[in-house]
């Protein structure tokens, strides 16, 4: 597997970015739900949001890298067995995933920085507040952050179901080429 994408499959960089972000998105969603329900005397009351925000910032960087890498690389061609509606639906879901993730990291940033406070990145540096004191900024950004996060998890589930359908029912290379596995159809496809 090469670093770059080819017409047949995703390259190593795309595969690593995809799975790192999958881990990040699911982890941040779970962490976010859990941490907002903690009691004041929980030992994780201050550390959980700290990690959520730091990892969220990393995810934002990964998202930008991912989009840049995607634009700089060929997208593997649809497989011969992919139907028209599958190609359109997956393209729509991919687009929505990118779009919603972008809005989610942005809205998360707007919650914490609503009154001018920066966000610590693992305690190494502070990302400054740039947009502050919009009307009801923290509450509105918070509502967007929550509902789009729920939506992204729904979309990701649809995305995963689609991949599993191709892998288990159609028995094609759709998931294999995102896992870096050997392709069934060989090089000629």
């Amino acid at each position: 597997m090469s670093l770059r994408n080819t017409a047949q499959r995703y390259g190593l960089i795309s595969v690593v970015l995809h799975w790192l972000m999958a881990l990040g998105v699911i982890g941040l969603f779970s962490l976010g739900l859990w941490m907002t329900d903690l009691g004041y005397y929980s030992p994780y009351y201050t550390s959980a949001p700290f990690w959520h925000k730091s990892i969220g910032l990393v995810l934002a960087v990964l998202l930008v890298l991912r989009l840049v890498w995607r634009l700089a690389n060929p997208k593997p061609d649809p497989l011969a067995g992919h139907r028209g509606w599958e190609i359109s639906l997956s393209a729509l879901v991919h687009l929505l995933l990118y779009l919603l993730l972008g809005i989610i990291v942005l809205s998360g940033y707007l919650i914490s920085t609503a009154k001018g406070q920066g966000i610590s990145l693992f305690g190494w540096l502070e990302v400054p507040a740039l947009v502050t004191n919009l009307p009801d900024q923290a509450d509105r950004a918070g509502a967007v952050h929550y509902w789009l996060a729920v939506s992204v998890i729904g979309l990701a589930a649809l995305h995963a179901l689609g991949a599993l359908k191709h892998h288990l029912l159609d028995r094609d290379d759709t998931l294999r080429r995102m896992l870096g596995m050997r392709l069934k159809q060989g090089k000629e496809s």
């Binding site: 004041y40 919650i111 001018g116 900024q137 923290a138 509450d139």
Partner: protein
């Protein structure tokens, strides 16, 4: 005849007192010479101070008849400000002030009892988080007189302590933080 005279005298006295009725003041929110603050223990180690930035109110006051004074204040609870975006968002949520459902808190005095030359217990109904409870403000008259810009002003301070649970604020901030102190200073402009 004497009775009639006494009645007449009383009547004219009442009419006179009516003429000298306590003056009405509007709290100087516009000029920001009024603030509603709160103070709550953090873990028993220090205190957090916060404030409500948006409120309005008026009071009537006559230095000769302080017992007939009255005060009404209305607070927009979503203006709560502890200088911390995430905490303020949490304070607005239904863990604390539930501002979506109860956007206004009010205080309406029901009685004033002087406790010294310039101190008083101001009794009234406080509505907070949708719960109305009688509270007593420990109030102090600070001063009154002409201002340099053609107006007339009078100012007071007051404190009271609320138990969060009494107002259905169930979020537990620990044993040292069951109560919150309200610290109010208002200046009114005579109308």
């Amino acid at each position: 005849m004497k009775k009639t005279f006494a009645g007449l005298a009383l009547g004219s006295l009442m009419a006179l007192s009516g003429a000298l009725q306590a003056a009405d003041y509007v709290i100087d929110k516009e000029g920001q010479h009024a603030s509603i603050n709160f103070k709550i223990s953090h873990l028993g180690y220090s205190f957090v101070y916060g404030r409500f930035n948006d409120f309005s109110g008026n009071f009537s006051w006559d230095a000769d008849k302080p017992e007939s004074s009255a005060v009404n204040v209305s607070i927009n609870t979503d203006s709560v400000d502890s200088n911390h975006a995430e905490r303020d968002k949490h304070l607005r949520s239904d863990d604390f002030l539930n501002v979506a459902e109860h956007p206004t808190a009010t205080f309406e005095s029901t009685g004033v009892e002087m406790t010294g030359d310039d101190t008083a217990n101001v009794t009234g109904n406080l509505t907070l988080n949708g719960v109305t409870k009688p509270v007593v403000l420990d109030a102090k008259f600070i001063g009154e007189g002409d201002d340099p810009w053609g107006g007339y002003r009078a100012g007071f301070s007051g404190t009271t302590t609320l138990t969060l649970k009494d107002f259905d604020i169930s979020r537990d901030l620990g044993p040292a933080a069951q109560d919150v102190e309200l610290i109010i200073t208002v200046e009114g402009v005579r109308q």
